[in-house]
Chain length 226, copies 2
Amino acid sequence: MSLFSEVSTTDLVTQIARQITAAIVAGQLKPGERLTELQLSREFGTSRAPVREAARLLESQGLVTFSPRRGFFVRTFNATEMRDIYELRIGLELHAGCLAVERATEADIAGLEAQLSLLYQNQKGSQASLETQMFEDFTFHRMLCKAGGNARLLKVYDELAMEMRAGITLIGKLYDDPQRMAETHEPIMEALKKRDGEELREALRYHIAVARDEVVALFHEIEKGA
Amino acid sequence: MSLFSEVSTTDLVTQIARQITAAIVAGQLKPGERLTELQLSREFGTSRAPVREAARLLESQGLVTFSPRRGFFVRTFNATEMRDIYELRIGLELHAGCLAVERATEADIAGLEAQLSLLYQNQKGSQASLETQMFEDFTFHRMLCKAGGNARLLKVYDELAMEMRAGITLIGKLYDDPQRMAETHEPIMEALKKRDGEELREALRYHIAVARDEVVALFHEIEKGA
DNA sequence: TCAATGACGATTGTCGACAATTGACACTTA
DNA sequence: TAAGTGTCAATTGTCGACAATCGTCATTGA
């Protein structure tokens, strides 16, 4: 059986990149694992050329690394890199938040509230997989960034989100209490509704710093174990 | 004569990407211009494969755009995009500045002061081309970001810097008074030496906002003219 | 005159092939 | 035994070729 699900109808390179990305953030391809061009091309039923281009694309997004003459490997993260990623996220999201305070439409805010209620619903069915939780959480924060109205910022945020997902998958746990997870977003929502930039910054800073500390701590454990 | 200078001794794809990048930020390749694979491959004396990979790399960096079945084009910027870029830069650089306040070593600060004196020297010989000025200016700000000690942030900043260079080249003017340009960096330097985060943020915010307003205004003019 | 159509050249998308390089493993030698 | 050496399979780097597609431009018809 193939690791990758079926393709749809767009650019082949993009498709391949998407599929590899999905396999990485889902943890099917493990960090450090080698991506053999020939093997992947057989998986996709193509030649090596589009696979190489897709891999280069992912390299630029930080999901795979590349060594000349050795090939592509699923990127590994260490604690320092994860700290940098979350630290950068703080900078980006606080900035986006300030912009959103000025630019967010009522529709943006309504959308965020809807998304927040989704976070709460996740716990009821308890069917909510770690993956679903993670996705809904990221969606909330992405919507906030989008409300900032800066397309370039959003692009960076999306790349960062991919790396965070890949890193978190590596850990496995996290997100153990969906109820609390949803609640921690309330102060953010409140500050935005009041359009209070300073309060929003503080709420976001705290919220993300907590996540950062958790993730970084877990990575330190992993490194000690390894 | 070739647009591109001679190569050195590393990975071919990287080399090609570097050369195309140089041609773009130097304005030899104009925005909207088509990048024909065959033509470029002849320029470099290679086949199309490495050129394609290099172009895809540049696409991910935002220097060229790509339309399926139509090929690669030097990216065009409009006023909104330039605003977004500078706005994002503000967020990044202020964040990096705050980190630098805590993490910058004495060597970092000494390096920044040396770079600042370079900015002053630029005017003496008056040989200082627009390109040199721009480069020295960017180097200063990059060093500041580097002093923040966040590799991931620095990577984003570098990509952004490329886009800014490409955009500024498109304008042509700017940087007309080297003396004043150097002086405007003093408040930044002062705040960092005092390790006063809030003051540094304000100095940077003002400094970059001025640049942003100039650039965006010039782009609005261009758009009106076009 | 102008819009629609069709053919053609130019360019991209993908492929399979071959040379160059790497890493591993067996083999020699002290 | 341990270090060094040579060989070999596996993989990457690059190439040239061909089919698919796009844009252009002349032609046709009203």
